[in-house]
């Protein structure tokens, strides 16, 4: 043994490191539980959100499928020739056909006549979704006989019932069901005339399809075998195009529908990201404090000959292991939540959200959980390497050691890289992820700076004239071994995330409700003649309906732009005005102010024209660019024979996404009042019943007025929007809960920081009340200041998000934010006090032993 040289190259005993990691974790399970809870909730939120996202995506895809009802639909307004027919008959595994056209339907019982859209159907269409009827089976059974299903409003309008008959052309059909909804109805056309379905085998005898008839021919296909529709449609396209036919696939519809959900998926990304970051904050703060407590143990191990790298690895293994366990539990919890919540809330939500286990979400969640535990634990963990064995003799761990470790820059870089990479995966934009990362970095720096300032200031301000409790409470903020920085950052970040989610959620919900529901117009009356406008409005109000908008519409053309006419255009190819600008008949209005959906982007709005001078008009942005216009350009309008010189006074941005009248050109008042015009009136009908009564009244008194009932169309949209707002609410609520848990966990973890001290004070004879007061003061100060800082950052952050990511107007309600500051401060104090309660209820010695 004497000659045994020192073996400096001792090989690392990996199994032993695992063994030590396991042993070391044993007595600390309760503390690790807090660390684990941050991961568990973060990952649970993430998995639930991902799963929701995938499910909602599926739902939206499903919805897109039910919107067209088939894998492929082909339609045109001409009968197909035999060659094309052969081709069309060869497609798909199941085929259906439909002929649709407008016709006057007659209700023999009430002797009423009304324009309807007849749809003669053959086959099993729809393959996705259903022709929803009352009674339910009518949607399929009507195909078996001379039967029809009739639009609900139409039924109400003519007081018809199931069992009555309806005359279409020369044939009478038995009404076997009331039509509530059908595929392909969510279009503009459906609103114009109510739909009546009849079986195609009875179409011939109606005598309506003859030479000269205006009929739309549709072919629906279902593909049971997998087929590349994209390729197929590309092949079909030229042939169909030649025959003047159009096609639609689910994929194409999905893209169109999907665009409406851009906000939702952006929000879900945000929520998922925030949930994850909250987990990170939890991990970082938990591990930070955990490592501090482990210094003594590490020093002992170092004394016994454990290498720095080995000590580091022992704790790394531990943290990653726990991270893995936490992630798995979190994934399970997230999946459970995703399954349970719709069940719990099924009475409150008027629709179903499909629930499927998303292995993709679970896999992503677990992977991310492990990565973040590793990454965010690394920073405190690298300090393990610097724990000197000398600590066994005297405790002298120095925070400064960490700040000098060059490795920490590598860790910072890794964290930044991770955040950038992860945001990129979520947002699919490098610029976006860069800004996001910078934003978080900024928040971190601000919070750290505030913490630093706080420590400096309290040190300066503390005054011996203060009472002992105040001095002690405040001194805790800056004395060695303080928790100011870590709590400031974790409470501040949690508050910031919670607040941002809350604010953005409110903004988005506000957007969603703006576009549907409530008092949005869902019925349009047009062709109201000037002489009728007051009486139509009066009738509308008499029926208890709101007149949401009533605008005059004048049709005109552009005769000249800066002296150039359409004729000049043909002669001179250098004029940069598209021909269509002159060819188009513009429907314009006149008013003295901008509407809610318009925003001035350039020029000045002039609401009143001066007699004898050029008319100042406002041009919509798209037309402005298309026609190459500039502010001040001269335009001569031709108002049905009368030329009117005008100039471009302003440019407007118009939100076309709402059901309301929007115009490419708006005139000021004082010019067009006498011009030929008609009126459009927008109203909101709450139910099909009201709609039917109202339509009956209008048709009776004003037969020339046409009505578009968008109720059916918008109800589909409403359902989707409802779903979206539910998902938004649920997801943010869940992330907010995660935030609170992380916040609680990080404050809770700080328990061990103050135990020694509290016990000492207790031993020295401090009363319960005194210890409570000292603790309360410290936590109150930390809690309120970091919450306040967090919320101020959140205001800035949500403003940036609203403006640049969601592109929605920013409004903020300060009251909830203030309540949030209050709640978080109180929460911090309560947890802080709970932390010291354990100390106060047990004899000091017992605690000292347990926590030695």
């Amino acid at each position: 043994m004497e000659t045994n040289p020192v073996n400096y190259q001792r090989k690392m005993n990996i199994p032993w490191l695992f063994n030590m990691a396991w042993r070391d974790s044993r007595k600390n399970r309760s503390r690790l539980f807090l660390f684990i809870s941050a991961i568990v909730f973060g990952i649970a939120a993430l998995v639930a959100i991902y799963a929701f996202k995938y499910n909602v995506q599926n739902d939206i895809n499903g919805q897109a499928a039910t919107l067209i009802g088939a894998d492929l639909s082909v339609s045109g307004n001409k009968p197909v020739d035999s060659k094309l027919k052969k081709l069309l008959d060869s497609l798909g595994d199941d085929r259906s056909q439909e002929r649709s056209f407008a016709s006057m339907a007659y209700f023999p019982k009430s002797k009423g006549t009304r324009l309807v859209q007849v749809r003669a159907l053959q086959g099993n269409f729809p393959y996705y979704g259903a022709i929803e009827t009352t009674p339910e089976q009518a949607g399929t059974s009507f195909r078996k006989g001379q039967m029809a299903v009739v639009d609900k409003t139409l039924m109400l309008q003519f007081n018809a019932h199931v069992g009555d008959s309806i005359k279409i052309g020369n044939s009478q059909f038995l009404i076997t069901g009331i039509l509530n909804r059908a595929p392909g109805q969510a279009g503009a056309v459906a609103g114009i005339a109510p739909v009546v379905y009849i079986p195609m085998q009875y179409l011939e005898q109606t005598g309506l399809v003859k030479i000269g008839s205006r009929v739309n021919y549709s072919f629906y296909y279902k593909f049971t075998r997998p087929v590349n529709l994209d390729k197929l449609t590309k092949k079909l396209d030229p042939m169909l195009d030649k025959a003047g036919m159009r096609y639609e696939t689910i994929e194409g519809r999905k893209e169109n529908t999907g665009r409406n959900f851009g906000d939702l998926s952006r929000f879900l990304s945000l929520v998922g990201f925030v949930a994850l970051l909250l987990g990170c904050v939890g991990v970082a703060s938990a591990v930070h404090i955990y490592v501090r407590e482990k210094i003594a143990s590490i020093a002992i191990m170092r004394c016994l000959g454990v290498k720095a790298s080995e000590a580091f690895l022992i704790y790394l293994i531990q943290i990653v292991g726990i991270g893995l366990i936490g992630s798995v539990i979190g994934a399970a919890l997230g999946t459970a939540i995703q399954h349970l919540l719709p069940v719990i809330f099924k009475d409150f939500i008027p629709f179903t959200i499909s629930v499927q286990i998303s292995w993709m979400a679970i896999g992503q969640g677990i992977l991310l959980g492990v990565i973040i535990s590793l990454l965010f634990a690394l920073l405190p963990l690298i300090s393990v390497r610097n724990v000197s064995p000398l600590n066994t003799l005297r405790l002298s761990f120095d925070d400064a050691v960490l700040s000098r470790d060059p490795l920490r820059w590598l860790v910072y870089a890794l964290i930044m890289l991770f955040i950038i990479a992860f945001t990129y995966l979520q947002l699919d934009s490098w610029l976006g992820s860069l800004f996001f990362t910078l934003g978080i970095l900024g928040a971190f720096i601000i919070l750290s700076a505030v913490a630093w300032l706080l420590m400096r200031l309290t040190k300066l301000l503390i005054n011996s004239s203060w009472s002992y409790l105040w001095r002690q409470g405040f001194a805790n903020l800056y004395r060695p071994n303080n928790q100011t920085l870590i709590l400031m950052v974790s409470i501040g970040l949690s508050t910031m995330f919670i607040c941002i989610l809350f604010l953005i959620q409110n903004l988005l919900i506000g957007q969603v409700t703006l576009s549907s529901g409530g008092n949005q117009s869902n019925m349009i009356l047009f062709d109201i003649q000037n002489s009728q406008k007051d009486s139509v409005a009066r009738l509308t109000r008499q029926q208890g309906l709101p007149v949401l908008q009533q605008v005059p519409i004048v049709t005109l053309r552009i005769e000249q732009i800066n002296g150039k006419t359409a004729a000049d255009l043909q002669k001179d190819s250098t004029i940069k005005i598209p021909h269509g600008v002159f060819a188009y008949e513009y429907r314009v209005t006149f008013r003295d102010s901008l509407s809610g959906s318009e925003k001035l982007t350039d020029g000045t709005w002039i609401g009143k024209a001066e007699p004898g001078k050029d008319i100042p008009v406002s041009v919509e942005e798209n037309l402005y660019h298309r026609a190459n216009l500039k502010i001040g350009d001269k335009i001569v309008f031709n108002v049905q024979g009368v030329e009117m010189p005008a100039y471009v006074a302003s440019v407007r941005k118009v939100n076309w996404g709402k059901v309301q009248t929007n115009f490419q050109v708006v005139f000021p008042t004082g010019v067009l009042e006498d011009a030929p015009q008609f009126q459009v009136l927008l109203t909101h009908v709450p139910s099909t019943k009201v709609s039917a009564t109202f339509q009956r009244a209008i048709v009776h008194s004003f037969p020339n007025v046409s009505i578009i009932d968008l109720g059916l169309v918008l109800s589909v949209l409403d359902e989707l929007l409802n779903k979206i707002s539910y998902v938004i609410r649920f997801m943010s609520a869940f992330s907010i809960i995660t935030g609170v848990v992380v916040l609680v966990a990080s404050v809770r973890i700080s328990k061990y920081q103050r135990i020694q001290e509290s016990v000492l004070l207790r031993t020295l004879g401090a009363s319960r009340k005194q210890i409570f007061a000292i603790t309360a003061l410290e936590y109150l100060f930390l809690g309120s200041l970091s919450a306040l800082t967090g919320i101020v950052i959140a205001f800035g952050g949500s403003w940036l998000l609203a403006k640049y990511s969601f592109e929605i107007p920013y409004t903020v309600n300060y009251l909830p934010a203030l309540i949030l500051v209050f709640v978080i401060s109180i929460l911090t104090v309560i947890i802080g006090l709970l932390n010291s309660r354990g100390v106060l209820n047990k004899p000091p010695l017992e605690i000292l032993r347990n926590n030695a």
């Binding site: 043994m1 045994n4 020192v6 073996n7 400096y8 001792r10 005993n13 032993w16 063994n19 030590m20 042993r23 070391d24 974790s25 044993r26 007595k27 600390n28 003594a296 143990s297 020093a299 002992i300 191990m301 170092r302 004394c303 016994l304 000959g305 454990v306 290498k307 720095a308 790298s309 000197s388 064995p389 000398l390 066994t392 003799l393 005297r394 032993r849 347990n850 030695a852």
Partner: protein, 229 residues
């Protein structure tokens, strides 16, 4: 007699608040293998610092520490850890058991680090020697101070160290327990033939060793043999 530890011109200074604190200077002595020694001095005299330097827990500012012929000053911290693991045993005033490990596991750690065989049996044997065979599965917090220090003794001897450093081993124990622990320490030491260096301000304890080195104000002021030597 063979020298196990040779201290020459040893000095240690600390930088604190911009001032240089001279804790130890010009310490010279050597320790014979198998001997028992005490370093005594009042609080703040620098004896704990001296212990830390001798055991390779810290780096000296001046001079050299040569342990079993190895100059510790030339080694990295990890290499010194290796030296500690192979040649050095420790006993601390506040026992310094790993709180998350059982008594048995605490004893096993140094052996495990050396990848030795029959670890469990040897650790149990050591626990038996300190009279705690039946407490092996208890955690430190479930043991009394005396028991903890006995576990610590078992651990210190587990790797058959050439030299054992004990920092106020009875400092946290009552008189009666102290006596038992001290007896155990000296018995085990004798049996293993280990060199013992004891840091204490308890002169009665110091008197049980063969040689007493006195420190005051960071300097060696006396070095004398006791009646045992």
């Amino acid at each position: 007699m063979e020298t196990i530890l040779n201290i020459s011109d040893l000095g240690k200074t600390y930088q604190s608040a911009g001032r240089t604190l001279n804790v130890l200077h010009d310490i010279n002595f050597s320790i014979a293998a198998g001997s028992t020694n005490a370093i005594v001095g009042p609080s703040g005299s620098g004896k704990t610092t001296l212990l830390g330097l001798c055991a390779g827990l810290d780096r000296s500012s001046a001079g050299a520490v040569e342990l079993n012929g190895i100059n510790l000053g030339n080694l990295t911290e990890d290499q010194r850890a290796q030296v500690r693991n192979q040649y050095v045993g420790f006993i601390f005033q506040n026992f310094q058991l790993l709180p998350t490990l059982t008594a048995l596991e605490n004893v096993m750690v140094p052996l495990e680090l050396r990848n030795e065989k029959n670890i469990r049996a040897r650790a149990l044997d050591l626990l038996d020697k300190v009279g705690l065979a039946d407490r092996g599965h208890h955690y430190p917090s479930q043991l009394s101070g005396g028991e903890q220090q006995r576990v610590s003794l078992a651990r210190a001897f587990s790797n058959s160290p050439k030299i054992l450093f004990a920092d106020e081993p009875t400092g946290n124990l009552d008189a009666e327990t102290s006596e038992k622990v001290v007896k155990l320490l000296f018995d085990l030491n004798k049996e293993a033939g280990t060199t013992l260096i004891l840091v204490t301000h308890d002169l009665e304890l110091a008197a049980k060793t063969q040689r007493i080195i006195r420190i005051k104000g960071g300097q060696l002021i006396a070095d004398e043999k006791t009646i045992n030597g």
